[in-house]
């Protein structure tokens, strides 16, 4: 049976795929990841995660039509599947419910002094 839980890095990548839409291919996703998180990542690592998400059924992919750039080579564009969407939603809802249980959720009410 395939593992269907969503890891942290996977979740981020999945979100980025959604954000990038038509432009969601490995290089762009890696660039976007680096600029949004300011953490370096290799294309290989992203690609490997994308293919894993594909195996889990959260993503599907198609080759784009070829363009003049990249020496005429085509790109693999990823799109989120319905189960990908619901996995993202489930993950968000789960975290929100956790945050709701967190005492004095409002940040300005947090009593930092106790901690220090």
């Amino acid at each position: 049976m395939k593992e269907t839980r969503l890891g942290d890095f996977e979740e981020t990548i999945l979100l980025l795929v959604g954000i990038l839409g038509e432009e969601a291919y490995a290089f762009k996703i890696a660039e976007e990841f680096e600029s949004q998180t300011e953490r370096p990542v290799s294309i290989g690592a992203v690609h490997s995660t994308l293919s894993r998400l594909g195996d889990k059924g959260f993503l599907k992919s198609e080759m784009s039509s070829s363009t003049a750039e990249r020496g005429g080579r085509r790109k693999r564009i990823y799109t989120i599947t319905a189960s990908g969407q619901s996995a993202l939603a489930a993950s968000r809802d789960f975290k929100l419910s956790l945050w709701k249980q967190y005492p004095d959720f409002a940040a300005d009410n947090l009593n930092w002094e106790i901690l220090s």
Partner: protein, 891 residues
């Protein structure tokens, strides 16, 4: 630069082709297009912001990051599939190992022994080869030596006149530094009574040498206190080792302190520095370096070419060819030495001009490549290093042979497996790799055991070889080294059996046509012969070395070394020496007493002098003679024999001109009736007696000319003890000593022990050879045992049937043993001449040696045969005595 970059942009700023190629090689074909595209885009996006170089580095980085399971093509990860097969091989190998416990134990046991021996020898060789390799400047430092070479002589020696070092430094720009060393017993060099100036108690210390300040720098002697550039620069300074500093000045910096040697209060030495102890793998090993700065031992000593007492070390300018410099050194000989000889009218002049050369020996070569050099330092011998290496390899080879023999002999048991695997689609290559895996498994197990065993017996081996090696547990290379060697050995031992086993034809096997294990018995026999030949050669070697040692210890030396005690350090008694001697003589246990520093064992004083017949010093060639200063009791105490003339006499004052020579000297001087003849060196002596030749040097060389002159002073008194009770004699002697020198503990050695110590290297070689021989025999017997057990097992039914039909015990036993006995006898025939030749070579080092007689071979052969028969008979007897019904019942 910038513009150039722009014009060549099309070439320069492409992704690195090699990286692309590499990527395409391992990447799944269906991913190639998108990935290449992505990486391309990445490359150009980096290029916009950073240098082409950074972009290329980044490209490589990205490529390596695609080395992930999802992206790598299957033909490369294909061996992951084989991994399962590999696991299966190991499993099957392991089961086989457990199923045949005895055979496995013999295979592994033999291997383990072989590996232990090899590893210990490797450590030994490593230690021997590490001598003097630690100088940062080792390519440029040399020791100067003399070579005298013509048809009759080939002599090499190290001593030079005092001025040699300075001349080399001044006359040759190639010589950067030169320094001198006096390692011989010479004034304070050697052993001395030592005390701090502010203390009274004397302690005897050895390891004093004279050295130049420059020597500290040339030999890179590390200093703990004091400065390497100045420690010996002042007259009357001394550098002591860390050990001695800790002994006499615990916990303090002794630089500047004063010490007294031999109670010579008028000449104190100031400590100029403390050096690190010499490492055990240095050719030098001293504790006290006395400075040569400002030292002149007698008037004119520093300039004369008549006294040769210094060893010279030089450091050459980087890039100097030592051979070229050696050629140029002839000029020194011409200008200085030949000049001196001409002046004194010495007849050796012509020979010196023709045959003597000053040469350079690299310091790292000193320890192992000084064969034939007259040197008092302990040296090894490169020939023995290689010999041991070869022997160790042979022992390992014996273990490999066991493995091969047993694997092929037991092949029948694996034949069905091979057949079945083939039927199910195994290629021959698969089977080969299976059996190789198995042999590697054995080899790895044996290596782990062998290395552990080596670690355990290392202390024992250290005692055998006189070394103090440490096991390299912590070295980084140990594990990779073990793995590599295990692999190589596994391959070596496994390659023949694996080809042999994998070559079986499945149809024949499964039909049951394979004759069980009898195939290739020719090769097996050859290997058994080889194993035993090696064992017998080693046994012969052991015997010959042992006999030579017995010969050395028991040969007639021309003097009596038993029951003689040498009390050292009596020079501090000064004028009281004579009364000390007469006190000792009065003891009832003492037979005789003599004072002399010259004794016929190594480590005592020597003194080379040229001698001529009187008045012939300008006409005849000189005879090189040991001139020993002894007292009138020397010859009788040592049990030497006067064969002509008389001994020295106590009262005769004219004996100050008298000289006693040995037979060899009489012969070299060409004297038929030597008594009464007058001879000279710097002064004239009259020969009063001739002493029978006695061995005063190692038996490796022949007896050389020697003479005695009379003298009553020395630092060693030798006491010949009358009674058998050495203990009580020593007590009385010690009591007398304590009266004379209450501040100095008595120090004595026994003459026979000192003598035996001269041949320690022979004994070591003997002991190492013995252990080798024992190991080889054990391994060979293990193999023979397993083979015979196997054969007996194969012929179990035949034996039973024969027994039922009335064969006697002797018949059957003879039948089972004779085959193997034949092999051992063939081995003996092969081994005897080889062993004889090798040991003859070894004995050639000795001028006085045993001859190898036939009984050596006979005994070696007999021992081997007996051991072999015992080995075989265990299984044979068991088989023969078995109830035949037991093995025939099932038919």
């Amino acid at each position: 630069m910038k513009s150039k970059e722009n014009t060549t942009k099309s070439n320069h700023n492409l992704p690195p082709p090699l990286a692309e190629k590499f990527l395409c090689w391992f990447l799944k074909a269906e991913l190639a297009e998108e990935v290449l595209g992505d990486l391309d885009e990445k490359f150009y996006s980096v290029l916009e912001k950073q240098s082409p170089f950074r972009a290329k580095i980044n490209y490589w980085y990205q490529v390596f990051n695609y080395l992930r399971p999802f992206a790598i093509r299957h033909s490369i990860t294909g061996n992951l599939n084989q991994y399962a097969m590999f696991q299966n091989y190991v499993l099957i190998g392991w089961r086989n190992l457990l199923r045949n416990k005895m055979y496995s134990a013999i295979k592994i046991g033999g291997f383990t022994l072989g590996i232990t021996a090899c590893f210990l020898i490797a450590l030994y060789m490593r230690d021997e080869l590490s001598y003097d390799q630690f100088y940062t400047n080792k390519g440029n430092i040399y020791r100067v030596y003399n070579e005298f070479k013509n048809e009759e002589h080939d002599e090499k020696w190290l001593s030079f006149p005092a001025s040699m070092a300075k001349i080399m430094k001044n006359d040759y720009p190639e010589v950067e530094k030169s320094g001198r060393l006096i390692p011989y017993d010479f004034f304070f060099a050697g052993g001395n009574q030592f005390r701090r100036e502010n203390q009274e108690q004397n302690t005897y210390e050895e390891g004093f040498v004279y050295a130049d300040q420059n020597l500290l720098e040339i030999l890179e002697i590390p200093m703990i206190y004091g400065n390497q550039e100045t420690a010996l620069a002042e007259p009357n300074t001394i550098v002591i080792s860390r050990n001695k500093a800790e002994k006499y000045f615990p916990g303090q910096n002794p630089v500047g302190e004063t010490i007294i040697l031999n109670e010579e209060v008028s000449r104190p030495f100031k400590i100029g520095g403390v050096m690190e102890n010499f490492p055990s793998n240095s050719h030098l090993n001293y504790d006290f370096l006395l400075t040569l700065t400002g030292e002149e031992f007698w008037e004119g000593e520093q300039t004369t070419w008549g006294a040769w007492n210094y060893n010279v070390y030089v450091q050459l300018v980087d890039g100097t060819n030592p051979l070229d410099l050696e050629e140029k050194l002839d000029a020194i000989k011409e200008t200085y030495y030949v000049g001196y000889l001409r002046e004194t009218g010495d007849q050796t002049l012509a020979d010196v001009e023709k045959y003597q050369k000053f040469r350079l020996q690299p310091v790292p070569d000193i320890y192992l490549r000084s064969t034939g050099m007259h040197d008092i330092a302990k040296t090894g011998d490169i020939r023995f290093v290689w010999l041991f290496g070869v022997v160790a390899l042979f022992i390992l080879l014996l273990a490999c042979i066991n493995f091969i023999n047993l694997s092929t002999a037991k092949s029948a048991n694996r034949a069905r497996e091979v057949g079945l695997r083939k039927v199910l689609g195994s290629y021959k290559s698969h089977l080969i790799s299976q059996f190789l895996t198995e042999s590697m498994l054995y080899s790895l197990i044996s290596f782990v055991l062998g290395i552990a065993l080596a670690g355990l017996v290392l202390p024992l081996f250290n005692r055998l070889s006189g070394k103090s090696m440490i096991f390299p547990w912590n070295e980084w290379w140990l594990i990779p080294f073990i793995l590599l060697c295990a692999g190589v050995i596994g391959l070596l031992a496994g390659i023949y059996p694996s080809f042999y086993l994998s070559g079986f034809k499945p149809i024949e096997i499964l039909k049951g046509n394979l004759s069980r294990g009898s195939k290739s018995s020719g090769i097996r026999s050859t290997m058994v012969v080889f194993q035993f030949a090696i064992s017998i050669i080693l046994i012969i070697g052991t015997f010959v070395i042992y006999r030579q040692m017995q010969f050395i210890l028991n040969t007639k030396l021309g003097y009596d070394k038993e029951q003689v005690v040498m009390i050292q350090g009596i020079n501090t008694l000064g004028a009281k020496q004579i009364s000390f001697k007469s006190e000792l003589k009065r003891l009832p246990e003492v037979q005789n007493v003599t004072i002399s520093d010259f004794l016929p064992v190594e480590g005592t004083k020597r003194d080379q002098n040229p001698f001529w017949k009187e008045g012939k010093s300008k006409e005849d060639k000189s005879v090189g003679v040991q001139k020993w200063q002894v007292d009138e009791d020397y010859i009788s105490t040592m049990g030497m024999k006067i064969i002509d003339g008389r001994d020295f006499e106590e009262e005769m004052s004219s004996d100050s001109q008298a000289i006693i020579i040995n037979q060899k000297m009489a012969h070299e001087l060409g004297l038929e009736n030597p008594v009464g003849v007058r001879i000279q060196n710097w002064q004239v002596y009259t020969i009063v007696g001739v002493v029978e030749d006695f061995h005063f040097e190692s038996l490796k060389g022949e007896i050389r000319p020697l003479c005695f002159i009379k003298n009553n002073y020395g630092s060693i008194v030798s006491v010949k003890v009358k009674s058998e009770d050495m203990k009580s004699a020593l007590q009385s002697v010690t009591a007398v000593w304590d009266e004379f020198a209450p501040n100095q503990p008595i120090r004595y050695t026994f003459l026979d022990e000192s003598y035996a110590r001269m041949y320690e290297d022979v004994q070591q070689t003997g002991r190492i050879f013995t252990s080798f021989a024992v190991l080889a025999v054990i391994i060979a017997c293990l193999g023979l045992f397993a083979l015979s057990a196997f054969m007996v097992e194969q012929r179990r039914k035949e034996i039973s049937i024969r027994k039922v039909l009335g064969a006697s015990f002797n018949n059957l036993f003879g039948m089972l043993t004779f085959n193997y006995l034949k092999l051992v006898l063939i081995a003996l025939v092969i081994a005897a001449p080889v062993g004889w030749y090798l040991m003859q070579e070894w004995l050639n080092d000795y001028e006085y040696k045993i001859s190898i007689t036939w009984d050596v071979f006979f005994i070696a052969g007999l021992i081997t045969v007996i051991i072999a028969v015992l080995t075989i008979s265990y299984e044979s007897i068991r088989a023969v005595r078995k109830n035949p019904a037991a093995s025939l019942r099932s038919e």
